[in-house]
């Protein structure tokens, strides 16, 4: 028995939303570290983050019975005790900031704005500036982009956490009813986000080659995230399997976890989530670091594609295995047996 109320659109949204948020965060970090490097990778990654989130939201809208009513956000997302409301506004805000950041990351847009808008191109002089090098002077436009990057990181983190909170706070599905689920989805969102930026960097490597330091940073982040994800996933499934089978919720949670690890979904879970999504990126990242400064683009691409497949499949499987507990059955059996 599988969960079929929410089918492929919400599953894909949870993946795209998380990946988009993660990709923006990675791109924003690259920008904040050094605004002069990886301009193209940062810009394309920010557009990709925007597109992921936008497509995800459109998918979600298409799944509604009344999509038009859903677009009247002030009415349809007005109950703030619901995480869907918080998430809708958070994702909406993230979408706006991602778009603005991506737009300002485009060189022609920056040049055009600097011409038309004096403030944007101006470099304010402050007391003591003379003592500093010319490099330290930062135009207002860059300052604005930095603020947007920081706000976008905050909103992106919120969207990543929210994809898990949405499921956790539903409350009717034992598999999802764990604080470890938002942890898992958040780590996976960052993981897939980094993977998306890596794929973009590999694709753009002729026009905007990734600096060795940046590549090494990303590989180290991948290693950290994969280790964290393995730990959270193991704890998540382990807790569910050791649930009290005498209670309806405990039995349903254990059944869901078994469905993933040994049941009908096990092949896909082990092959796509664990092998492709966790083991492959880890091995590739370690190899890249070991091979130090040699051609590691194919390794990076392979690991990143594995991470994307695994992250996407994780959302589908967690949704599919999210069955309700048989509360009525368990109450009735307690009465009549």
């Amino acid at each position: 028995m599988l969960q079929l109320t929410w089918s492929w659109q919400p599953a894909l949204y949870l993946f795209l939303g998380g990946m988009g948020a993660g990709a923006f965060i990675m791109a924003a970090v690259l920008f904040l570290i050094d605004r002069t490097k990886h301009r193209l990778v940062v810009c394309v990654s920010m557009w990709a983050a925007f597109a992921s989130l936008a497509v995800g939201l459109l998918l979600l809208l298409s799944e509604l019975i009344s999509p038009v009513r859903g677009m009247m956000m002030w009415q349809s997302f007005s109950n703030f005790s619901s995480w869907m409301t918080l998430g809708a506004w958070g994702a909406f805000g993230a979408l706006a900031v991602f778009a603005l950041s991506a737009l300002l990351a485009m060189r022609p847009v920056g040049n055009w704005l600097a011409k038309r808008w004096k403030w944007f191109g101006a470099t304010p002089k402050q007391a003591g500036d003379a003592a500093k090098s010319a490099k330290a002077a930062v135009p207002n436009g860059v300052k604005l982009r930095r603020v947007l990057a920081v706000v976008g990181i905050g909103l992106g983190a919120f969207v990543a956490v929210y994809t898990g909170m949405l499921l956790m706070t539903a409350g009717g599905v034992p598999l999802w009813d764990s604080p470890l689920l938002p942890c898992l989805f958040t780590v996976s969102a960052f993981d897939t986000g980094v993977a998306l930026v890596e794929v973009i960097a590999v694709l753009l490597s002729k026009k905007d080659p990734l600096a060795h330091r940046a590549a090494a940073l990303m590989e180290k982040i991948v290693i950290g995230l994969v280790v964290a994800e393995v730990a959270v996933l193991a704890l998540f499934l382990g807790t569910l399997m050791s649930g009290d089978p005498a209670t309806a919720a405990g039995a349903a949670g254990a059944a869901s976890a078994e469905l993933l690890t040994t049941g009908g979904l096990a092949t896909v879970f082990w092959a796509m989530v664990v092998a492709a999504g966790l083991a492959l990126p880890l091995v590739m990242a370690v190899l890249s670091l070991v091979l130090n400064k040699r051609e590691t683009r194919p390794l990076m691409a392979l690991g990143a594609i594995g991470a994307l497949i695994g992250g996407c499949e994780l959302r589908f499987l967690i949704l599919a295995a999210g069955v309700h507990a048989d509360v009525l059955g368990s109450t009735v059996m307690g009465l009549i047996m």
Binding site: S76, S78, W176, L328
Partner: protein
């Protein structure tokens, strides 16, 4: 004559009050407006619920049919009330009729982004189809898998509010039960009555404070 006139006048006033009262009730039933609480103040703060007697239910599904008919459920709308069958230790069939539990603290109401679900007089939890966007979050939230969807919105039991039954009055499913297996009333009274008959009523599950009690003989 004077007395007769006075009586008539009193009767007229009473009639007016009754008409106004029923208008308020009908208005509340159709719109779920705030005025509902004024019109039915006597049941406003009393939690009503169902009691399903396993030892009396024969699985005839008269309750299911009566619900469908009275609420004019469209063809694509699922049953609001369900009768499920279980087998006891003597291999006999045991039937249980349930619908929405009209919980004390409904998960569906908490998670509905549009605020389309409300808990009103008599503790009845109802959905406003004009506000529902059809996100199906309430399905994932309800531990009892009560909400269903037709092509308009979420659909579930509203104790026949939409069919014109005033809050606190007996819904059609209970009226249709000729075996006295299904009862409706203030949930505390239902519990006390069952206990007076020597039975031990249990709520269906625990989550959200469900207001559907089950009674049935053990074994």
């Amino acid at each position: 004559m004077t007395e007769h006139t006075a009586l008539t006048r009193r009767g007229f006033l009473a009639g007016c009050a009754a008409v106004t009262g029923s208008l308020v009730v009908v208005g509340a039933a159709s719109a779920g407006s705030a005025s509902a609480e004024e019109g039915v103040s006597s049941v406003a703060n009393v939690q009503y619920g169902f009691l399903s007697d396993l030892s009396r239910c024969v699985g005839c599904e008269n309750c299911v049919a009566a619900c469908r008919e009275a609420n004019h459920l469209s063809e694509e709308t699922a049953n609001r009330r369900r009768v499920q069958v279980f087998m006891n230790s003597r291999s006999n069939n045991v039937y249980v009729s349930t619908s929405c539990m009209h919980c004390d603290d409904p998960n569906c109401l908490r998670v509905c982004p549009a605020g389309a679900i409300s808990k009103g007089a008599a503790g009845i939890v109802s959905v406003n189809p004009d506000r529902c966007i059809g996100c199906k979050y309430c399905v994932q939230a309800c531990p009892y898998e009560v909400p269903t969807y037709n092509n308009v919105s979420m659909d579930k039991c509203d104790c026949c509010l939409g069919a014109g039954v005033a809050p606190g009055d007996t819904p059609y499913c209970v009226q249709a039960c000729i075996f006295d297996a299904l009862k409706y009333g203030p949930v505390d009274e239902l519990r006390a009555e069952a206990e007076a008959r020597g039975l031990a009523p249990v709520p269906v599950g625990e989550a959200c404070g469900p207001n559907c009690l089950l009674v049935g003989e053990r074994g």
